[in-house]
């Protein structure tokens, strides 16, 4: 698909042929995971288990986008950790505040029961 590289010559020299195999591979992985997410959403009944599967699949997708498309996998270890450690803390934030949400709901709906 991407093999129609230009044939007009440039002053700076020969233009190399594009290498795009890894890009399309990542693309098909992303499409595949998205299709799987849809299948899981419609085949399974809503439950914590189903949502866990969806979240894990989402993290897979995020991994492919960040590692391949954003090239983070090929950066130095220092940069990878600089990005990943703060992001990991967000999982804590999310778990903590969702628990808090359930507690608020509990207080509102069942406090006087």
């Amino acid at each position: 698909m991407a093999h129609n590289a230009t044939d007009h010559t440039q002053p700076t020299g020969e233009i190399q042929k594009p290498v795009t195999g890894w890009i399309w591979k990542t693309f098909f992985v992303l499409v595949g995971i998205t299709a799987l997410e849809f299948a899981v959403t419609f085949i399974m009944d809503p439950s914590t288990f189903r949502n866990s599967i969806l979240i894990i699949l989402t993290i897979f997708k995020a991994f492919f986008i960040v590692a391949e498309f954003m090239h983070l996998k090929h950066e130095t270890k220092g940069l990878i950790w600089t990005i990943m450690i703060p992001m990991a803390l967000l999982i804590w934030l999310m778990v903590a505040l969702i628990t808090e949400g359930s507690a608020i709901g509990e207080a509102i709906f069942s406090a006087f029961k």
Binding site: I23, L79, I98, I104
Partner: protein, 257 residues
């Protein structure tokens, strides 16, 4: 450097003469990434915090409200419980009245993933200094980005105008669609979070389009070629992939779970 101090013992001559060349002594790139790219990463990290705050708020508010417990098929809109997204986002442009749960959002997701692919292709062409290819892939990315934004405009318009039937509100009137104070789909905050989360994401897509337009013009004018590298395309590419990444999470947390 070579003046002698009398107040301290000096290291040997050789180590004074030698320039400081440690990792953090300046003049090099500790992360082997240019200043601009590094700063783009840090900006994206801070932006990720903002989006995480939005999605966490969504999670908190969803759990603070009751969940719908009845059968999936019998679901009706009510402010008593949080709506099931399949029943809210089930329409498709041109197919009025047909129940197509999440079909349109699936299309939007595919368009955005595809725009991400054309963006990597533009970055890849930039590495090869292939001006014509960079132009071509930037144009495709612009096209898919603009299509995504138009889809979101339709989605918003549909969400605001509501379904044909509407929903009977607590005061007995029928209400159609949604605004920030009232909506037919469920609790007030459901529509608020829809507007804020998808709106903030859409704003990012729009900024991305502006940056891509700049990149396209600069590429066409030969600015990057004269500069000797297409790093600007790479940096804008990072931003564009980030927008796609955020959509992956919005898609899961807002539409699927």
């Amino acid at each position: 450097m070579s003046t002698t101090s009398t107040t301290q013992t000096l290291p040997t001559n050789a180590s004074i003469e030698r320039p400081r060349s440690g990792t953090w002594d300046g003049g090099n790139e500790p992360f082997k990434a240019s200043y601009g790219k590094l700063m783009m990463w840090f900006f994206l990290l801070s932006d990720a915090f903002t989006f995480a705050a939005f999605l966490t708020t969504y999670g908190l508010m969803r759990h603070r409200h009751l969940a719908y417990t009845g059968d999936h098929k019998d679901f009706v809109f009510s402010s008593a419980y949080w709506p099931i997204p399949d029943h809210v986002f089930n329409s498709f442009p041109g197919l009025h009245g047909v129940d197509l749960p999440l079909a349109f959002v699936a299309l939007m997701t595919m368009i955005l993933i595809f725009s991400s692919v054309t963006m990597v292709l533009a970055v890849e062409a930039g590495h090869r200094m292939d001006k014509a290819d960079v132009q071509k892939w930037l144009l495709w990315t612009l096209l898919f980005g603009a299509t995504f934004l138009s889809c979101q405009a339709w989605e918003w318009s549909h969400f605001i105008h509501g379904t044909d039937a509407g929903t009977k509100m607590l005061d007995g009137t029928i209400f159609y669609g949604a605004n920030l104070q009232m909506n037919q789909y469920g609790p007030v905050l459901f529509a608020d979070l829809f507007f804020f989360i998808t709106g903030f994401h859409g704003t990012h897509v729009f900024s991305g389009l502006v940056l891509l337009t700049y990149c396209f013009i600069a590429t066409t004018n030969g600015t990057f070629e004269k500069r000797g590298h297409y790093e600007m395309v790479e940096k804008v590419g990072l931003y564009w992939h980030f927008v796609d990444l955020v959509w992956v999470f919005v898609f899961t947390f807002f539409y699927l779970v």
